[in-house]
C-alpha cells in the first residue's frame, strides 16, 4: 500500500493516481465484478428485486425502534446477551470487557465492516487480545498491516503478485501466483487459529427480529467457524441491520449476492440463534450481540435516512469511475469508500468537516444509483452533503466569491453580456496553441490546462449570430 490514509486528501489522491500496481489490481478485479453482476442481474427481474429489497429496508428503518426491541426480546429468549452501544468507544469497551472477564487471549474474527468502522481490532489488541482475521482477504491485509480498501473485497487493491510476495515473506510460502496454492497456505495457518481461539467475533448482514437470529453471508465458511467453534461468540451489528422476517433476510441475501459478486447466492449463509443448548453437539457456550448506533440515529433524524438502507454489497464501488482511479484508501481513515463511503463517512463522523472533500469526489455520473440494489439516490445525497458543507464554509473562500460573482452576473443579462465581452477580450492575451485553443490559464483554472486545452471564447456569441440572422426575440408581441 503506497497510500498514507492519514495524509491530507489531495496527497492521498496523488499517491493513488501514481500507483500503477494499484490501478492494475483495481482494473482486473472491478471489470470482473461488474461483468459478473451484469450477468447475474440480467437473469432476473432486476427492477422487481430492487423494489422489493428497498421496500423491506424502508419498512425496517421506519420501524427501527419497535423492530430492535423485538429483536432484543427474541435474542434474549434464545439465550443471547444483548448490549447497546451509543458510540464506537462504548462498543469497543463492551467487547473488550467480555474478553477481559473471560480471560480471552486469542480471538478470531469473520469479515465485518461494523468492527472496521469502530476500530475494534486496535481496541482488543490494546487490551492484550490477539485477534486474527479469518476472511481470506482480511487475513491478507492484516498480514500486510493495512486496512480494507473495499466493502466486500477488502484486498482489491493488491494484485496476485503482491499477495504472493507477502505470503513468501510472512508465511514462508514458495514463490507462486496460483490463487489456490496461496489460499491453501492461508487455510493451513487459519485452521490452528480457529482451534485455539477463545472468542469468535462477526459482523451481521441481517438480524431477524421475529426469530432473534443473526445472519452472516460468506463464501469461505470461515464465518460459520468463527461463530460456532470458540466458546464465546460476539456479533457486532449496526442497528440498521434488523429486518422483520426470515423471508426478508432471504430476499436481501440474493440482492446482496447478485450485486456484490454476481452470485445467485453466496456459498454460505450462516445463521446463529443463540448459544449451544443442552443436547447440541457444538456451538458457542455464550452468544453476545452488540447493537451499535455510532451516529446512525443522528442520520435518521436528518434527511439522510436513505443511507441506512445500504446493505453493504459494494456494487456502487465496483461501478464507480472515481473509485476505479483511486481505490479505497484514498478515501482516508474510514471503513467505507466509493460513493456510499463518500456519503456515509461524513455522516457518521462527529464532525463532517473531517471528511469534507469526499462528497466532492464524484462527477455525479449516476452509475452508483443505477446499480444500487436498494435504489439509494447517491448522487442526490452527495449534492445534499455538498450543500451542507458549503454552508459550513469548507470550500476555499475564493470559490464562494467566484460563484457569488457569477450568480450576480447571471441574474442580470446586461452584466452577463458585459462579462462575456470582457472574457472574450481578456482571452486574447492568454497563451494558445496553433489551433487557437487556450493552453495555460491562471490558477485555479490552471488545474484544467495542466492536462487539457480549452476553446477560446467564440469571436461572436450565439446571441450575436441570432441577431445577425434577424431571429425572433421572445415572441412576446410579434408572434407572426
Amino acid at each position: 500500500m503506497n497510500i498514507d490514509i492519514t495524509a491530507p486528501y489531495q496527497t492521498r489522491v496523488r499517491q493513488a493516481l501514481a500507483d500503477d500496481n494499484l490501478r492494475t489490481a483495481l482494473e482486473r478485479a472491478m471489470s470482473r465484478l461488474s461483468e459478473k453482476r451484469a450477468q447475474a442481474v440480467a437473469a432476473i427481474d432486476l427492477q422487481r428485486m430492487r423494489d422489493e429489497a428497498r421496500a423491506i429496508k424502508e419498512h425496517a428503518i421506519k420501524n427501527l425502534p419497535e423492530l430492535l426491541e423485538q429483536l432484543e426480546r427474541n435474542l434474549i429468549a434464545n439465550g443471547c446477551q444483548v448490549h447497546w452501544a451509543q458510540t464506537a468507544d462504548e462498543a469497543n469497551e463492551i467487547v473488550t470487557d467480555i474478553a477481559r472477564q473471560r480471560g480471552v487471549r486469542r480471538a478470531v474474527k469473520s469479515k465485518s465492516m461494523a468492527t472496521e468502522e469502530i476500530h475494534l481490532n486496535e481496541a482488543l489488541e490494546d487490551a492484550g487480545v490477539k485477534i486474527v482475521e479469518t476472511d481470506l482477504g482480511e487475513y491478507i491485509i492484516q498480514l500486510a498491516g493495512e486496512p480494507p480498501s473495499h466493502i466486500t473485497a477488502p484486498v482489491i487493491h493488491k494484485r496476485a503478485e503482491d499477495i504472493s510476495a507477502l505470503f513468501q515473506r510472512e508465511l514462508g510460502m514458495r514463490p507462486t501466483n496460483d490463487p489456490a496454492e496461496m489460499c491453501a497456505a492461508a487455510r493451513k495457518q487459519l485452521r490452528s487459529e480457529f482451534l485455539e481461539a477463545e472468542m469468535g467475533i462477526s459482523g451481521c448482514n441481517f438480524a431477524i427480529a421475529e426469530t432473534g437470529t443473526i445472519c452472516i453471508v460468506t463464501n469461505e465458511g470461515n464465518g460459520r467457524m468463527a461463530t460456532s467453534m470458540p466458546p464465546v461468540y460476539v456479533a457486532v451489528m449496526g442497528i440498521e441491520k434488523v429486518v422483520p422476517r426470515v423471508e426478508d433476510a432471504l430476499l436481501l441475501w440474493q440482492a446482496v449476492a447478485r450485486s456484490a459478486t454476481g452470485q445467485e447466492v453466496t456459498v454460505y449463509f450462516s445463521v446463529s440463534s443463540g448459544p449451544r443448548r443442552p443436547g447440541h453437539p457444538d456451538g458457542p457456550k455464550e452468544m453476545h450481540v452488540v447493537l451499535v448506533d455510532n451516529g446512525r440515529s443522528r442520520i435518521l433524524e436528518r434527511e439522510y435516512a436513505d443511507v441506512l438502507l445500504c446493505v453493504r454489497c459494494g456494487a456502487c464501488l465496483n461501478a464507480c469511475p472515481v473509485y476505479r482511479e483511486i481505490g479505497g484508501h484514498a478515501y482516508g481513515k474510514t471503513a467505507y469508500s466509493g460513493p456510499i463511503g463518500a456519503v456515509i463517512t461524513p455522516l457518521l463522523a462527529d464532525d463532517p468537516k473531517t471528511a469534507k472533500e469526499l462528497p466532492f469526489a464524484s462527477s455525479l455520473c449516476g452509475v452508483c444509483r443505477e446499480v444500487c440494489p436498494v435504489k439509494i439516490d447517491l448522487p442526490r445525497l452527495l449534492l445534499d452533503l455538498r450543500h451542507d458543507l458549503t454552508k459550513l464554509g469548507t470550500p476555499p473562500k475564493y470559490e464562494r466569491a467566484a460563484i457569488r460573482a457569477y450568480s450576480n452576473t447571471v441574474e442580470h443579462p446586461g452584466r452577463y453580456h458585459r462579462l462575456s465581452k470582457l472574457a472574450r477580450w481578456f482571452s486574447r492575451f492568454l497563451p494558445t496553441n496553433k489551433e487557437g485553443d487556450l493552453t495555460r490559464l491562471p490558477p485555479p483554472l490552471s488545474a484544467w490546462t495542466q492536462s487539457r486545452v480549452l476553446p477560446r471564447i467564440a469571436p461572436r456569441s450565439f446571441r450575436a449570430l441570432w441577431s445577425d440572422r434577424g431571429g425572433k426575440d421572445m415572441g412576446s408581441s410579434n408572434d407572426g
Binding site: 469526489a361 488545474a447 492536462s451
Partner: protein
C-alpha cells in the same frame, strides 16, 4: 395572452441555448435552431437568458443557484404560462436535467409557492434537443450526410437523469453516408463533472484519458455527444495529447454542419 397553442400550425419553441453554447460553441446553437426549424418548429430566442445555475448547484451553493434558477423561471415561466411557446428546448442533457429535476430541489418547502408553480409548468415542457425532435416532432430521418465513421458517447445526465438514449442514436443512424461504430465502454463517464474537473483535476483527467483510449479504439472520425461540457473535456484531452479534437455535438452532425475531418476545424 397571444394566440393559443392550438391556433398555431407549427409548434413554437423557446431556445434555451445554455451559457456554454452561447459563449464557446455558438455554432452548436445555430445548428440546433436550423434543425428545429427544418423539422417543423418555429424558434424564438428569449434574449435575456443566461445560465440555468447548474455549476453553483452542483458545487453545493444552493442560495446562489436559486437566484439563477429564479432568473430562468422569471424569463421562461411567463412564456409557457401565457402559451407564447409550446416547449423549451436546449442542446444539453445536463442543463435540461437541472431544470427538470433539480429546480424542484431548490424550491422545496413552504414559502416558494410561486416558484413551485413555475417549476412544474416549465419542467413539463422542457426538452433536450434530440428528445424533442424524436418524441415531439416525430423526426425519424434528418436528411444529413456525413462521409465518415461516427460513434456516440452517451453523456451521463442525458442517459441517467433524463433517460434519453435511443433518440440521438436513431437520428444519427439516419445520416447518409455515415457508418456508426461502437464506442468501447460507452457508458463510462468522461470525467468532466463541472467543478469536479478543477477540484479533482487528477481524477478527472485519469477518467478522461480512459475515454480518450476508447475513442481511439473505436476508430471513429466523429464522436457525437449531447453536452458541450463533456465535449470540452474530451476534446481538451484529445488535443492536448495530440490526437485532434474529434468530439462534436450531435446537433452539428444532424444538421450536416460538421466537416469531414472535424479535427482540422
Amino acid at each position: 395572452m397571444t394566440r393559443s397553442n392550438s391556433d398555431r400550425k407549427r409548434p413554437r419553441v423557446a431556445m434555451f441555448v445554455t451559457c456554454m453554447v452561447d459563449t464557446l460553441y455558438p455554432g452548436v446553437g445555430m445548428a440546433a435552431v436550423e434543425l428545429l426549424e427544418r423539422h417543423g418548429a418555429d424558434v424564438v430566442f428569449p434574449e435575456n437568458q443566461t445560465c440555468c445555475g447548474q455549476p453553483a448547484f452542483n458545487a453545493g451553493y444552493r442560495d446562489e443557484a436559486r437566484r439563477m434558477a429564479r432568473h430562468f423561471l422569471d424569463l421562461f415561466g411567463p412564456l409557457v404560462d401565457k402559451g407564447e411557446v409550446d416547449a423549451i428546448v436546449a442542446p444539453s442533457g445536463s442543463c435540461v436535467a437541472m431544470v427538470k429535476h433539480f429546480y424542484e430541489v431548490l424550491f422545496e418547502g413552504p414559502g416558494h409557492n410561486n416558484e413551485q408553480r413555475l417549476v412544474a409548468l416549465v419542467s413539463e415542457v422542457t426538452y433536450e434537443l434530440t428528445q424533442y425532435l424524436v418524441d415531439v416532432l416525430g423526426v425519424q430521418d434528418v436528411d444529413a450526410e456525413y462521409g465518415g465513421t461516427i460513434t456516440y458517447h452517451p453523456c451521463c445526465h442525458l442517459l441517467r437523469e433524463l433517460e434519453v438514449d435511443s433518440q440521438p442514436r436513431q437520428l444519427l443512424a439516419s445520416i447518409k453516408g455515415a457508418e456508426i461504430v461502437d464506442l468501447p465502454a460507452e457508458q463510462e463517464c468522461c470525467g468532466f463533472g463541472g467543478l469536479f474537473a478543477i477540484k479533482n483535476a487528477g481524477i478527472s483527467t485519469a477518467m478522461g484519458q480512459r475515454k480518450v483510449e476508447s475513442i481511439l479504439q473505436s476508430g471513429a472520425d466523429a464522436v457525437a455527444v449531447g453536452d458541450v461540457s463533456c465535449m470540452t473535456q474530451m476534446n481538451g484531452l484529445l488535443k492536448k495529447m495530440g490526437h485532434g479534437g474529434r468530439v462534436v455535438h450531435v446537433a452539428e452532425l444532424l444538421n450536416g454542419s460538421t466537416p469531414r475531418t472535424p479535427e482540422r476545424q
